[in-house]
């Protein structure tokens, strides 16, 4: 049996924090969906105001993607499925 060596702990591993580490729903730019339609989807589904929905749409358009929601993984998967239902290209990822 190996005695093993002491783990080289350089970072505090906070399990509680890891468990609650947020996930994100990301919407990606595509050449097909209309800007007006994307704003409509963000307003209708998320209930964002027109300025906020427009800001997010422009972020998708100009930066290639935008985080449209953040929270528990299951919730982000539901949002992603909802975006797919509208034809938007959405993915799930752990918050950076």
């Amino acid at each position: 049996m190996s005695a093993g060596s002491a783990p080289d702990v350089r970072e505090d591993l906070n399990l509680a924090e890891l468990a609650s580490s947020p996930w994100q729903t990301v919407v990606w730019n595509d050449p097909v969906n209309l800007m007006s339609y994307v704003v409509h989807v963000f307003r209708t589904y998320f209930g964002y105001s027109t300025p906020e929905a427009t800001r997010l749409m422009l972020a998708v358009h100009n930066d290639g993607h935008a985080v449209v929601a953040e929270g528990a993984r299951e919730q982000m998967e539901l949002h992603t499925q909802a975006m797919h239902d509208y034809g938007l290209w959405a993915t799930v990822r752990r918050a950076e």
């Binding site: 050449p31 097909v32 969906n33 209309l34 007006s36 339609y37 409509h40 307003r43 209708t44 998967e77 992603t80 499925q81 797919h84 239902d85 509208y86 034809g87 290209w89 959405a90 993915t91 799930v92 990822r93």
Partner: protein, 164 residues
């Protein structure tokens, strides 16, 4: 909320019925399970682009619901056009520019928006549209694609103006 009234020429309505019918054919030609048709894949994109297993699992849980919704939306559009008397078989040279008037509920309109958006995604996949600059003015199919975009944009404006 009161119903919305949407007008379009009889020939536009006939074309739209044909396109939506083809859209349903594309869905029906796709076997259950993971579709290899890029157009169908575009309707159920990878949720985890860097994780094939997670994407496959997500798709296995969402794909059939999503594609059923696409069929339902398409049927709402076909029913609306049918109810308005936009029968392609009744299209003649004389009546092609007559206006057909559709009365749509709020739910119908939501289906219309999703259906036109999905139809454009499928058409774009077939046309190989990968960037916003991909356009062939000589190809009549791009004119249809543009027309669908024009129609969708007008419907979005109409719905948004109602909602305030």
């Amino acid at each position: 909320m009161t119903d919305l009234t949407v007008g379009m020429s009889r020939i536009e309505a006939a074309h739209l019925m044909g396109l939506v019918g083809q859209f349903l054919d594309v869905l029906d030609a796709s076997p259950p399970g993971d579709s290899t048709d890029p157009a169908v894949r575009r309707l159920t994109p990878d949720a985890y682009p860097d994780d094939g297993d997670a994407s496959a699992e997500f798709r296995s849980m969402t794909q059939s619901d999503l594609l059923d919704r696409r069929r339902d939306d398409a049927r709402v559009v076909l029913a609306g056009l049918g109810n308005a008397g936009a029968d392609p078989d009744a299209l003649t040279e004389e009546n092609s520019l007559d206006t057909v008037s559709l009365r749509l509920t709020t739910d119908d309109m939501a289906s219309w928006l999703r259906a036109l958006a999905a139809l454009r995604l499928v058409l774009a996949e077939r046309l190989g549209i990968a960037t916003e600059d991909d356009h062939d003015d000589e190809d009549a199919r791009f004119a249809i694609y543009d027309w669908l975009g024009y129609r969708l944009d007008a419907l979005v404006q109409e719905v948004d103006s109602r909602e305030g």
